[in-house]
Amino acid sequence: MLKLGTATAIITPTEWEQVTMNGMPRLIPNQGVLDDLQADVFVLQDGGNTVVICTLDQVFVTHDDQSNIEARLKLRLPGAHLIICSTHNHSSTAIPFGQKSEQAEANCAAAREIMYQGFSTALNQALQDMREVEVAARRIPLPMQLGLNRRGKLSNGGCTQAWGAGPLIPPGHKCVGKSGGDATWIDVLAFREPGATEPHALLSSYPSHIHLYEVPLFTGEVAGGARMSMRQRHPGIHLMYSIGIAGDVAQQFAHPIPVDDEPSRIAWQKEKTAAFGAAFSQVLSDSLQGLRYSSVDMIQYACHHEPGKRQEECLLVQSLRLGPHALCSLPGEMFIEWDGHLRRDMSCETLLPMTYNCSNLGYIPTQLGFEEGSYEAMRGPVEKMVPEETAGQKGSPNTGEIIVEKARKQLASLFGR
């Protein structure tokens, strides 16, 4: 029978002098910690296979991060497979502020070491907590607006970014609407001990960026808010928060920052994060009653790893079968429309996509997305359209198709179709 162990480690950097955070520029160096960053580890084992799923509060998982963490895993569990994704947290990954200095470099290196050590600590704890589990999964519709598509389509057909506080509309034009879909669901995998009334572990996948505003503080952003609220609501449930297919969906669209001074903006961020967490955990909580669990005997795993032009431009797609349910680890920043492509004639009963693995191909728009433009589609497409030459390159118009095809093939193979 399937076994699961779960654990969490705090991975907040402890030194932040001359440091800022990768992802969104700040005008001042980091000032401290708003709330802690987290590494979550789920260890899944059947009789012979082990798969370790890890999420990190980082803007990206780099190729180096993947290698470093994989090396630590192999020391402990030589045959284990690793699925590791970031929460795409923009208030997490330490980088030097302004001109590089020895101090800044040392602080950033220390921050990475804390993250790697956090993984090892959580892995060890999870292995001490292995329990037999049954699995359930479902897609939960959201009754409220949380993540919204952040590309505004103009009347000339072009798009403009609509984050922060709506789109800038040029004179003589109108914004005809959002260019793509909103994040109107949460995918969830639930694990409970056989016969238990409630799960003790949830893996959620919500297709939206998690940041609201570029505070100069380390914070778990809305992922941290969701985990915190879930802990308060259900202390016995460990929530691992991951991102679905959400390159063009964000939290910011509907939340113009109401004030201009820094302390008020930080207070606003805390309030909005808590509100998101409360809404998110309420939806998860309400869905727990209706879950149908089944026992799973075997884990099946598939992986496609293709080197890219550069290390970070590798193409990594991983799939996992747990009974009738599947999980896919995919590169980040795919437009939400790709979720529908991935699910077309789906071979599994439910599918949970986790994005932002170490394959960093930038934004992955649809063909029409490239034609519409906006920030996410401003770089590309590359001129060459030959799949093998562009599969691992940023800005390729067919990257999304290639990724979806790899994942669909893996799923078809795992489900014998």
Partner: protein, 336 residues
């Protein structure tokens, strides 16, 4: 009439930035002068970047009483400072351009500052609007072909070309207005760009510069070769071909194309406009229905007013309700 007012007022205050912007645009386009105080209030108090639509509406309504507010927005736009993007600068630029339209040069220095920095807010998003104004001597040196196209050189990032189609649509619009015959060469390049929307704008701008039969034929041939509905409808508008526009309005798979075809039928004053709009009113897409409402109101169809009044009761989408309210309000406010 009160009901129409309330629908638009409520939408202006909505926390949906797109709805509020649409309400503002509709008030401006449909001459809702009685709502000028609400537009001023929206421009000053809203925290959305999309409130620029209220600024444009105030200009359209020649609301000179908005000038003190615009002067305030020029330096304190009351929106989040997204310093590395376009929203904060864009609201300031919108105020500056509006002030120019009201005859004040209070915002010229700011526009010059943006231009000097090579900012896309100037050279992309506001260049067409500035090129439509009476030339401003301080800004003319920045509104040249060379200056406007210079952003294209920023294409070395990650070895992937910098080709934001959204911005290039605006560039192509500017290339249709710029006083330099060499702009034609750039437009011809964009007629074969990877984006149908950039190509479409290039067609429009080229035709604006060279409204001759040979150019129209070349545009149509290019549009046929690429084969997208969007380009077909742009070419059909240039040829004033209602039949193709009707076909796209009814059958195009993309809602945006169906709506754009309705807008094109309005622009060519097609005798088939009302017929197409009545079909469009039944469309499942909000934007198509909205365009159909505005198109029907412009069609001079004798039953348009009654039809639109009846629609208000069954339409649930706020954007479409705003369109109905704006068109009905104009009919009530405009003296016979």
């Amino acid at each position: 009439m009160g009901n129409f007012h309330n629908i638009l007022k409520e939408a202006l205050r909505s926390n949906d930035p797109l709805l509020a912007a649409e309400a503002a645009r509709l008030i401006g386009e449909w001459n809702g002068k009685s709502l000028v105080p609400d537009l001023i209030e929206n421009a000053l108090s809203s925290r959305f970047y999309s409130k620029v639509s209220a600024i444009y509406a105030l200009v359209a309504l020649l609301a000179v009483e908005a000038v003190p507010g615009l002067e305030k927005l020029l330096n304190a736009p009351n929106v989040p400072d997204d310093f590395y993007w376009t929203g904060y600068k864009g609201v300031r630029a919108a105020a500056a351009v509006a002030l120019l339209q009201f005859g004040s040069d209070a915002g010229v220095a700011y526009l010059q500052e943006l231009a000097e920095a090579g900012d896309c807010v100037f050279s992309r998003w506001y260049a067409p609007a500035l090129l439509r104004l009476k030339p401003v001597p301080e800004l003319q040196p920045y509104l040249t072909l060379e200056k406007l196209c210079s952003l294209e050189e920023r294409n070395a990032f990650d070895e992937v070309p910098y080709t934001d189609a959204g911005q290039l649509c605006m560039l192509c619009e500017a290339l249709g207005l710029i006083n330099d015959p060499a702009a034609v060469e750039s437009l011809e390049f964009y007629m074969n760009f990877h984006s149908r929307y950039v190509r479409g704008q290039a067609y429009r701008s080229l035709h604006l510069r060279q409204a001759d039969e040979a150019t129209a034929r070349r545009i149509c041939a290019n549009a046929e070769r690429h084969g997208t509905d969007f380009e077909r409808l742009v070419a059909a508008e240039i040829r004033q071909d209602s039949a193709i526009l009707l076909e796209v309005a009814r059958q195009a798979p993309l809602a945006f194309d169906r709506a754009s075809a309705l807008d094109a039928l309005v622009r060519i004053s097609s005798p088939h406009l009302a017929e197409a709009c009545l079909v469009g009113l039944e469309d499942g897409d909000t934007h198509v229905r909205q365009c159909a409402v505005e198109g029907l109101a412009r069609s001079k169809h004798p039953a348009a007013r009654n039809h639109l009044a009846g629609l208000l009761d069954k339409e649930t989408e706020s954007r479409v309700r705003c369109a109905i309210a704006a068109t009905m309000l104009q009919k009530e406010e405009t003296p016979c």
